[in-house]
Structures are given as C-alpha cells and as structure tokens.
C-alpha cells in the first residue's frame, strides 16, 4: 500500500487570528458562518461553514410524488421560487413528453422574469444597505412590493407560491394580471432611474467596489460561478440563451457580459438584467395566447425509468435538477445543483488580501440565498 505523507500545514500563521462572521450576521443574509482568518484587517483565508439551515430537501423528495416535490423547491431559493418550480415541471414534462399549451409557456416566461426582477430588487436593496446606504433598502422594498401584490393577486401568496404544476399551472392568471404587469413596467422604468441616481452614480459606492474581489474568467469557469456573477467576469453562461426553454427562443434579449469581474461590475450586470427582463416581459405581455392553463395530465405521474436532467436560469445562476426514476411515482433520487453553492465556493479565493469591510461588499455582490446553499 502506498504510504500517504501528510505535510503538516500550519492552521494559523503567526500574527493571524480567526473571527466568526455569522451565523447571525446581517450581511450574510441568513445563517451562513464564515470563519475568517485575519492578519490585522486583511483577510488571509476564509472558510464557509454550511448546514445551519439544512432541511434534507433532496431526501424528502424521495418520498414525495412529483406534484408534491414542487412545493419543496420553493423553499430552496425562495427569491426565485417560480423558477425553481419551473425546473421540476420541465423535467417531468420532458420525461413524460407532454406538450404544454402555448399559453402556459408565455405565462411562465413572464412570471419567471417578474421573479428575476423582484429578486434583483431585493438584492439591490440589501446591497445598498450592506454598503451603508439604508435609503436603498426602503426604495428597493417599496418597488418589490408592487410585484408581490401582482403575485398575491394571481397566486395567493407573496413568497412561496407553488404556482406551477407539472403540465401547466395550478390555476389561471387573474383577469387583471396583464393590466397590472403593464402598469408595473411603466412604473419601474421610472423608478430604476432613481436607483441609478441614488446608488449607481454614487462616487462612494463606485470607489469602494471598483477593483475589489476580482473574479477572472478562468476562475469563474473552474468554480462554475454562473448567473450575473459569472457573466460579469465574461463567462457566457445564460441558460436562457444557450439552452432555451419556455418562450426564451422567441424573445429578443441581450446576455449581459462584462469582462472586469469586480464587485462593481457584478452590480452593473444585475442592474442591466432588470432592464432586459422588463424588455422580455414587454414583448410577451400583450400576446398571451388564449387556451388552457394546463395540459391534460394523469392523476398519478410515473416517470419512465431512467435519468433526467433539466437546467434553468434562476436569478442567481444555473439551477440543475437531476433525477433518477425507477418507474415509481416517487423519484429514486433527486439532486439539485444549486447556483449559490457553487458561487459560495469562489468567495475564499476572491476575497483573499482584501479588507474585512470589503468582504461584506463582495458577499453582497455575489447575492447569496442561504437556504439554497444548504437545501
């Protein structure tokens, strides 16, 4: 047997010390614990400790039928609840080779983009707050409220909707849905200018985040950092463009790419994405075709035995759902490739040799949702 030689690595160098950031730290946006090794004020090493909000969702899926799994996926990345539902629905529909009505595809695309906007609004609100601008928080939440009202009117809830069902939707959209979405787009086009005036153009914010936490394109690819964070480094990874689903092949939108990869450009990427999302919604909202809101589905769904994979673009990156079915009504194994978990992996390498105060800015720009990391 080959002998394994361990070279002892000193856990801590001279003049270094650890501090715990979290699990109850406002800037980690949830229960994430970062053990930061510092030398003075400089971050030398960083170790994330996950699992504080682990609920075993993948294991729970193994005892649930496919329609029941939908409501569990809401609870992973709760800010992109609809998009998570979409992933499981697409997986089941593709496995059963069900053709969903055109109306469903339109509605799903619109709702996915609304979800993306409200997620980015909350991110913008928290980003401003983490950098010391509390006003942003109120403005961001005020505008997010408008989307949540639209959601509440059509689906009955504000955060965890469980609105998609395999084959279509749970119920039809509210008759006022189109009118309200159009009113919101008109309203938000005005308000996003305020966002720019209050934070984007602000010298303090720009100087504090420019050149901080640089993620190179190679690093983004090798750590699989997807979503706006990856695209700010020039990694073209938009699932909506590369593997279009629902209506994304019909609409015209830009994939936002920057090459700088620093905290400021991750900010720009998200701001531009909100504008692109509004563009997508505007193209679809007036021509939702009439028809059924769900395809005819059997009462008990059994996927044919085999392996399935489906990916979608959530507000934070690529969500992959991998499912092994043995022909029963419950999956044999369900695995979620959550975007936040991969994005968290890169935090150590991009925050080395920055100040601990900058770590807050870097963390805010990666936009973590902790329940999605732990699942």
């Amino acid at each position: 047997m080959k002998e394994v030689i361990h070279t002892p690595v000193p856990y801590i160098e001279e003049e270094e010390y650890h501090i715990n950031m979290g699990p109850q730290h406002p800037s980690t946006h949830g229960v994430l614990r970062l053990v930061v090794t510092l030398q003075g004020e400089i971050v030398k090493k960083l170790k994330p400790h996950c699992g504080y909000i682990h609920r075993g969702i993948e294991k729970m899926c193994e005892k649930d039928t496919y329609p029941q799994i939908i409501h569990l996926t809401d609870r992973m990345d709760y800010l992109s609840a609809h998009i998570n539902n979409h992933a499981v629905c697409l997986l089941v529909e593709n496995a059963l080779q069900v053709e969903v009505p055109e109306r469903v595809k339109y509605i799903r695309t619109i709702i996915d983009e609304l979800t993306r906007i409200q997620s980015h609004q909350l991110w913008w609100a928290c980003y401003g707050m983490d950098l010391g601008g509390l006003t942003c928080f109120f403005y961001g939440l005020r505008d997010r409220e408008k989307i949540l009202d639209i959601f509440e009117q059509s689906f009955g809830s504000r955060l965890l909707h469980s609105y998609y069902a395999p084959g279509g939707l749970m119920m039809d959209i509210h008759p006022d849905f189109q009118k309200n979405v159009k009113a919101f787009i008109k309203y938000f086009r005005k308000k996003i200018k305020d966002y720019d005036r209050i934070l984007t153009g602000n010298v303090i914010m720009q100087e504090r985040t420019r050149g901080i936490g640089i993620l190179t394109r190679d690093n983004a690819i090798s750590y699989a950092v997807t979503g706006p964070s990856g695209r700010a480094s020039g990694f073209s990874c938009d699932v909506r463009k590369h593997y279009p689903y629902a209506c994304y092949d019909k609409v015209d939108f830009k994939e936002i790419l920057y090459t700088e990869g620093d905290t400021l450009h991750r900010y720009f990427a998200r701001m531009e994405e909100m504008r692109e999302s509004m563009k997508i919604i505007e193209q679809l909202i007036d021509n939702i075709p009439a028809g059924d809101y769900s395809a005819k589905m059997k009462a008990v769904l059994k996927l044919p035995a085999g392996e399935y994979y489906q990916r979608v673009e959530t507000a934070r990156g690529e969500l992959g759902v991998y499912c092994i079915s043995d022909g029963n009504k419950t999956p044999f194994r369900m695995k979620f490739r959550s975007p936040n978990f991969s994005n968290l992996g890169v935090l150590d390498s991009i925050s080395r040799d920055t100040k601990i105060a900058d770590l807050v800015a870097i963390g805010a720009s990666l936009d973590f949702v902790i329940p999605d990391i732990d699942r």
């Binding site: 689906f155 005036r197 602000n202």
Partner: protein, 159 residues
C-alpha cells in the same frame, strides 16, 4: 499638474453625485403623497385581502349548514406532509347499500405548507382558501381544526 486637476475634478464629481442622490431622497421627503407605508394593526377594519389569498384551508358551508365533502380521502393522500386527516364512517343509506359519510375532516394548520394540492385535487370542490391570516395563538392545539362544522351534512347530489 495633472494630478492637481484630478484632485479638484474628483471633488467636483463626488459632490455632484452626492447631490444627485440627495435630490432623489429630497423629492420623496417633500412629497408626502407618495407614502406607501401601511399602518397595519390600525387599518385592520378596512384591510382587504386578495380574493385568492392563501390564509388557511377552509370548507365552505352553505346557509343550511351543508358542505360538499364526500369523505373520499383524496386530499389526505395528496397532502405532502400529513396536514389532513379524514375520518369517515360507513352508514346504511336506506336502500341496503353502505355509503361513506364524513365524520371529521381534521386540518393541522401548524403543519400546512400552503401548497394547494388538497384544494386542486378534491373531486367535489369541497375545500377552498380562507382569507384569515392572523394565526398566532397561545396554545398549539388551537391550530388543529375540524373543518366540517358540527351538525353539518353533505349537500344533496354530490357523489
């Protein structure tokens, strides 16, 4: 000389960007018509929830205290977390056949995740969403509810 100029242009652009931001906050400060805050506990009387709002699962009864539930138990099998227990009896319907009749439809609000599957799959549309959202109680047992009212019966013609 260059850095000297840059020093002053930096100050100028910095002050300008701050003033731009302040003009936004100032605009809202001086226009109280745009206040969106709701005074929650005080506005209870006129607070209207959306008609589809998912507050809790209820079983609507008509004025004769009749509901539509047959006691089939489909909602119970479809609930992902066992929030529903259907207890039904079999009684003689008079013409020699045994029919099932609901005894108790128990709903654990404390376990419900508001997925809506029970309401969607009920074959006789016996369940609906209620708009009540203030669920805080001092005793956990109060969150276990019996949805069919005492003395209620099934509406004629529901199979």
């Amino acid at each position: 000389m260059n850095s000297f100029f840059k020093y002053f242009t930096d100050i100028y652009s910095g002050v300008k960007s701050l003033l731009t931001g302040m003009s936004v906050t100032g605009k809202y400060f001086f226009s109280p018509g745009q206040i969106v805050t709701e005074q929650y506990p005080e506005n209870r009387k006129k607070l209207l929830m959306q008609e589809r709002f998912k507050g809790e699962v209820i079983m609507p009864h008509d004025q004769n205290n009749q509901h539509r539930c047959t006691g089939c138990g489909i909602c119970e099998t479809n609930c992902p977390n066992g929030s529903i227990e259907v207890i039904s009896n079999r009684i003689d319907s008079g013409d020699g056949k045994k029919v099932r009749i609901i005894d108790k439809h128990i709903y654990h609000l404390s376990m419900c995740t508001f997925c809506g599957l029970c309401i969607k799959t009920c074959p006789s549309d016996a369940l609906a969403w209620g708009q009540q959202f203030e669920h805080a109680v001092f005793d956990r047992a109060k969150l276990t509810k019996t949805l069919n009212k005492p003395g209620s019966s099934i509406l004629k013609g529901i199979e």
